[in-house]
Amino acid sequence: MADPMRIRANMAGDKVEVRVLMSHEMETGQRKDASGAIVPAHFIQTVTVTHAGKTVLSAQWGTSISKNPFMHFRFKGGKPGDKVTISWVDNKGDRRTDEVVIGGG
């Protein structure tokens, strides 16, 4: 299981501002190791963010998202104390889900 995500969700006016830092190698499958063998691709393919049972952002990623992916976005309809849940699934079927409570402005 991968390391937990670091998530911050805070009110900014009437919107919730979310910043996520995930812990993942995001290996492209194009790099070679010291012996010249290709390092197999290992990367997050799908990300889903939900709030109160509703998807507020979903994403599909290729191998060119940087190692330890970062994402920043805003959505309406949240309030302090609500939970934001973020999940990802990678190309090997590994997955991770973390949640955070929305903080005040």
Binding site: T46, S64, I65, M71, R74, K76
Partner: protein, 156 residues
Amino acid sequence: MHRSRREFLQSGSGAGVLALAAAAGLVRPGEAFAQQWNKAAFDTKSVADTLKALGGSGSTESAQIQITAPDIAENGAVVPITIESGLARTQTIAILIEKNPNTLSADFEIPAGTDPFITTRVKMAETSNIYAVVQADGKYFHAVKEIKVTLGGCGG
């Protein structure tokens, strides 16, 4: 003749299973996007092919789409990119990097209520144009920005 008939029957039954799954509520429309990784789109190697794989037949350049990124990236492995769309009913925002081995980097689905704004970090193999492709009200629009890379991000 027999062969094509057989294939037709097989593909027909496959679609039937999917329809059944959808009817039974196993595949909810909102989840289908996140769960089915669009391999065809991520395998494309040109901007035109990517657009086609995403379902667009053409795209119009739009000044309503803002790409915020450095002009020169010293480290191609970590290039911060922000895309903001001023287009009404923005549905998806995709990031395309023209000269990377695979053009499509990311495709974000923006539901109603979420700002048409996204920041992430991408890898760039070399100096290239970045395309922000936005689907708004069913049509495709884009903006372009060139980013110079002094050190490539894909190693090798």
